[in-house]
Symmetry: D2
Subunit: 497 residues, 4 copies
């Protein structure tokens, strides 16, 4: 059992850049038409209040934007259908989200070749007609500007393509073709909306990723292309082991991931022209696979806590991939728990990871303490908000805060015993189809457990002790107490304190 001893003194402060609420990921954009998707999104937003959302497939055929028809006299015309785009964007805005635009993939009729990726057949190839692609991009941005206002739309970040350093996502992972795409697209965007910020290269880790960043920036520098920010992804999965449709792997450490990001940061800053421009991690998670069971665990939640404490040190925004489990890349999920990326399982069941994001998004005051188990911020009411976690071991926490007054310690606890819907489902026999009774139970089982802890007043302030299980995550809100009098009221007559 580890001991975590934290003592905060008056005047303490600690570096902590909290960008938890910056962005969240989603699968194919048109899935946002689904009611289950919107229900999950609403629930996640109530807990986390993300500001941006980023997903694939804006230009894929399921969104139906790019259309062609042939006139009676044989002329082929292109036109654009924004019915679903409007419906998706309206849903995001209603949920307090703005899009972090990802321009891709290719409409079938514009695709230069037949390569597709995923169950849903994303066309992951260059356009056969670059001007038609540019027209599509511009028409879409202009439509958005008309509907939502130019000033608003210009604030939406715009990223070009997704993971072109993977041959599945971009034919042959052809770097030269990607740079051509970037050149053509960034100019199209800036013509339509000069103030819109544009970036790339949206690469995944490994696969020569750091070199891709260097080459991307060198190309842009040479061609004098705007680069408003650099984007990349960050996953922790090592060599995978496949079983059936599922994938398992051991994970890198948070230290590894942070170091990888720092290397990208350093590459960017090595270009005087681009020094200091934002680095956005437009996807991050433990495993990169949507059928990896880790995503449903308390271990995942604790790992996310460890990352959220540090990602702001190396990046200017980051986006968990993904908020929910309405997702189809490797096929339709057949069971409520299947290792999907989401913070919620299908059926509106919260996973432990949801609470990591929820608790961190609530850390809005000045930071007074940060280490590998805790982040603590100061509240405006004289109290403190803390998030504490354990990764892979039990621990005994001792926390002292410089409060003079009486204090109440409100705890929301997420651990393998208190808030573990996956285990409940497993013990139910892993049912593929939940009855209404099972579903209600699992939704409740995914809620944190509440308690108000006993604390004692010491010379150093308020002190509280707490045993944490392995992979536990707790939010502590330490609130100053002003006792109200109520003559004759005696709690202890029927209860122990």
């Amino acid at each position: 059992m580890a001991e975590i001893k934290i003592t905060v003194k008056a005047g303490d402060s600690a570096p902590f850049r909290n960008l938890t609420d910056y962005c969240v990921g989603t699968g194919r954009l048109d899935l946002a038409l689904h009611k289950e998707y919107q229900d999950q999104l609403r629930a996640v937003q109530e807990a986390c209040h993300f500001r941006y959302i980023r997903g694939h497939g804006l230009f894929s055929d399921q969104m139906g934007i790019y259309q062609e028809f042939t006139t009676p006299d044989g002329v082929k015309n292109q036109w654009y259908c924004f019915t679903y785009l409007d419906r998706v964007m309206d849903a995001y805005l209603e949920n307090g989200l703005e899009p972090f635009l990802e321009l891709g993939f290719m409409p079938e009729k514009l695709a230069a070749s037949e390569q597709t990726l995923f169950y849903w057949k994303a066309h992951t190839v260059p356009p056969k007609d670059m001007q038609a692609w540019r027209d599509l991009v511009q028409a879409t941005l202009r439509h958005l500007s008309e509907r939502y206002g130019k000033e608003r739309v210009e604030t939406w970040p715009c990223e070009i393509w997704n993971e072109p350093n993977l041959p599945g996502f971009w034919e042959h992972a052809d770097k030269g073709k990607y740079l051509e795409l970037y050149r053509a697209t960034v100019s199209a965007v800036k013509e339509a909306l000069p103030q819109m910020r544009v970036g790339g290269p949206a690469i995944c880790g490994g696969m020569g990723s750091q070199q891709w960043i260097a080459d991307f920036l060198a190309f842009c520098k040479k061609e004098s292309l705007p680069v408003d920010f650099v984007t990349r992804h960050a996953y922790m999965g090592q060599t995978p082991e496949h079983k059936g449709r599922y994938l398992y792997h051991t994970m890198n450490k948070p230290d590894d991931l942070i170091a990888e990001m720092q290397e990208s940061r350093d590459i960017i800053d090595s270009f005087p022209e681009y020094k200091g421009i934002p680095l956005y991690i437009t996807e991050f998670n433990t495993s990169y696979n949507p059928f990896c069971p880790i995503h449903d665990t308390n271990l995942n939640a604790a790992t996310c806590a460890a990352l959220l404490a540090r990602l702001g040190d190396v990046a200017d925004g980051y986006s968990y991939w993904t908020f929910g489990d309405v997702f189809e890349e490797q096929g339709i999920p057949t069971r409520p728990f299947h290792g999907g990326f989401g913070m919620m399982a299908n059926g509106l069941i919260p996973k432990p990871t949801l609470w990591a994001f929820s608790f961190f998004s609530g850390l809005i005051g000045e930071c007074v303490y940060r280490d590998e188990h805790a982040v603590i911020t100061r509240r405006t009411d004289g109290g403190y908000d803390a998030v504490v976690w354990t990764l892979g071991e039990e621990a005994e926490l001792s926390l002292t805060l410089p409060m003079k007054a009486d204090a109440a310690v409100l705890m929301d606890l997420v651990d393998e015993e208190s808030c573990n819907p996956l285990r409940c489902w497993h013990r139910m026999g892993e049912p593929a189809h939940l009855t209404a009774e099972q579903l209600r139970f699992l939704r409740a089982a995914g809620q944190p457990r509440q308690a108000v802890l006993e604390s004692e007043s010491t010379q150093e302030g308020i002190s509280v002790r707490l045993k944490l299980k392995k992979n536990a995550l707790a939010r502590l809100r330490i609130l100053p107490v002003q006792r109200t009098e109520d003559p004759g009221y005696d709690y202890s007559y029927y209860c122990e304190d």
Copy 2:
């Protein structure tokens, strides 16, 4: 630590008459106009699904039914205003409830004297004009029949007055005057709605209660008056101790309460004319005082469980007093927890007692086991529903059920650690006015905790072991499991079982 060892064998059955959902109590009827009241009622009904609701003050001035006006030439006319009555009844029906009518109290303008009771000044005296009272009763019943249909309204039980054996509720506790009131009223009701069932004398315990029942029935027999059912109340509080506006007392045992009810039952059955007519306990609770802190405790929940297991042995219906804390008899509550009768505290915070009623109302199958710690019923899907509780002591439960298949044991747990909003509030410093943050926390803290327990297959069936804290209440749903295959899915890769 007590040991509770329960073994159910195939074919076992046990007597258990579950009338948990029969009826619930409420304060003054016009409080049903309040939004907070209706919000609490909706939440309680989602959990408990009561069928009837019974409250005071149908004819009190706050409901505004009885009105008088004087014409320009000095004639005094009476008329009736059903605006609020309709609104209240509509709210009940929308929430799946029908009224258990209690005819009382007296409109001020009909009151024979000035005695009032309560903060809200109920006129607890006979009418100064019995015919005007009869007219009021009949006009009200006729209006209800027109609006809701005669057939429906005739199914509503109708009780005459409330606790006339207390001088506060009925001037001088004048038995003769009550019998007169009964005689005049029962005939008025039967004239208006011949099929409506009417009863009394709605007495509280002590205060000569058993004699009141005997005298009431003797009078009705002598006068050949209809008595469709007998009503009385059941509380457990002993000699009270007052502190400020609060009241404390030790409680009788469930055995005492059951014995008191059995005595009433026996008195009824001693009249050949009335033998076997229903006995309804139109109010029951631990303490009879709305500022007694016991009502907010886990002890109260466990006590209610013990009562709900047995009340059907002695009565044909019973009604917990009351569902919620929108209540004004001794004044407006000033703090969310104040010992109010309700199953929910103001602010929509569930109290432990809510779950006693909720769990018992779900016991709908055939009973296979009942003792002083548990009731178990058989499900249609081959599983079992159990409610178990401990009263004042810890216990180790061992439960064996005759199931051959694999089983999942879903537990909803309510104990002093897991589901104790009162303690959380106490440790917060007993705030009179909750911030939104505190309120959300306490609502969550009032939810049961979920877990799926490990069970083992033995020769006798499925066996599960569970440690219960003092005053714990748990619902166990033991469901047969049909495992679905999903090749490659491996829960244990990242988790312990």
Copy 3:
């Protein structure tokens, strides 16, 4: 101006078989996953209360039921994914609907050839492996039985394929292959669910439709196959004229449609084995094209009224194609009004046709009058419900009903001036994308207009006169009045009567 003079006498009755609420159509079943779809469905159900819903694509790839995977050692396995099926069925049941199952189309991996239909590429060909198809049908029915209960699922009618007499819907419109499919499928269904009712051949009009019915029944008779009902479609469109993606045509008369259905009825009854089995019109509408602007008009509503008055004479159920405009057969709609089949336009704008179905679904009493302009039924409260309409001409209605008491005539009016969102949208400039302000306006513009008409008491009863515009539709509720007294209240002091 036509004159419509209706006089109902006490004791009058008229034949009228009202099956308005029997069934309604929908496009591809997986569109039911969409929020907009469910919102429209809820709104339609509030107005119309349909009992069944029938749509295409149960086995198409968008529903994702049929799946294959290849094991590491190269064996191809089939399995079934019911995630979306459950979600769709849950949505229907929550909205008070049960499915009228249509078994089709072919999963791509089971398709015998490459023919597809529609923007969304329905595979409209026989299975390459009939046993795999039978397995798919049985697995699906067994899953539904497990989830929703065998007794319930067996009540759902089951139709085999859709419009096989059209080569687009069934390769080469190959009758022999259809009969084979029927034979294999009906036996698969009956094996899985012996009580389930099965029928076909689901043909559209023209295209040898009557002969198809005759041949279908002859084949089934010869092969001793069960046929629990016969299904066919009924549209009114004549030779079409195409402009762009839109289609226009003049319409047959209701008389023509009724005669066509009667011919089918007579063919069925000419088989002694099948005489009297139900004929279900599993699709009907004016035009059969989802981009025919007639669907959005008041003319369409009046035409539907004329049909709803008579369809029960020739069929045992009928299903308007379709309830809403979330529909993709010829592509995604680009504008709110585009001639879609739906009773509601996208954006939740009611079309006039919705009210035809709503008004007719409310005609639940005994019919006292029916002609080509009106259907009138008797209410239980002593009043009458009437639906009246004009088709292509103005009319002056004079209506006399045998009521002795005072009566109030509540009118809900839908005509080209009062309830015509299409015209409003047209006059707005036919915007493709509605602002929130425009959308709210159009939703309101799609509501009927209310008025209470003046009536006079005559010797024959209550008489009311009303001028109806062309293509008007009105519901009249003639309610007996019991005036309540309120001394001093004088409406006429400030108002004219």
Copy 4:
């Protein structure tokens, strides 16, 4: 038939100070606990978006703030209960409203004498102990500051008492005693919340009202008391005629009311110390009686329109008395229409007057035209918003606006034929208790009717003609049209333009 000819030229502007949304009135504050009240409030706020709400009875016993209890040793203690106050304020804030505080009436236990007013017995007398009153005021303000934040609470205007120039509202209409109350109270408020703005004397018209204002200001000047604003009321009713519980009277003209307010304005400005301080009309309406049938009429709506066009000329805020019909001053309403003050009838039925406030609250651009029939403002999209009305006569409106482009004229019409729920109810037989069917009908009948008018392009701009019935009220939104192309779409194939 009057002719209203309006021609707006480019660059036109007109004075118009639109304070429609400043404030709205409500009966007794604790009625805000009622669900029906909150439902009406939500509906009114959706239509009108008021910023403040002002009502009576903050300190009346129904709010339960002032409490006393006697200790065992006979000492009388005062304390305060804010349970209902918090609930009421929370409800207002949730509906987007802040309170315009009115300090009154007297708690029974603080009342110097026994005078009461209204069915609900408001104690309308001075305090028997001025210090206890001051303590009550300060304790309440301090509690509000703690709960809602001092900065926020200090923005709430604070008015002292209500209509002290009426003996019913203030014993003997004793001016000297009112000035004493003001002196004691204003200092109490400023001690507690120095930035809070305080005013009086809250007088009604007639009853020496102008002299009251003069005397009030003279007194404050002499005593150097703060006066942050002056308040008074404005009603139009002349000599009343009583029938039963109803009251009827002819009305003054808008001119009369404006002149009366101007006189008050001039009195204020005659004091150099108070010149220019705000004059708030804290109540206005046609009749001052809650059982005057005019309030339910279209005439009332048109009168309100005429007032809303002009009140900003003479006052700095005004508050229609009242938003809804949950109101008890002269007793509980017995029928949905009874001449209550509200913009909505009980049962959530909109009255025509609601739309006057709704339409005016939407006039947010620069005013380009105002006369006794119309107010027109310029939209940011190049179009115009107009509200037009007729008072007591029919009119033919001709409106020309300087728009070059094509325009769509969206009309929402409220007149005696199109939107007249009162007449519908009257013709229904004036039912006291509405069936669900009647209620739904009346709610719909209270909605404006929508149409898009035909307009023509002339040299002077866009021109539209419209016949208005007597007491009509219309909102016209004249929107520039950008036609979208959709090749092949032909509205006119099935419809006339």
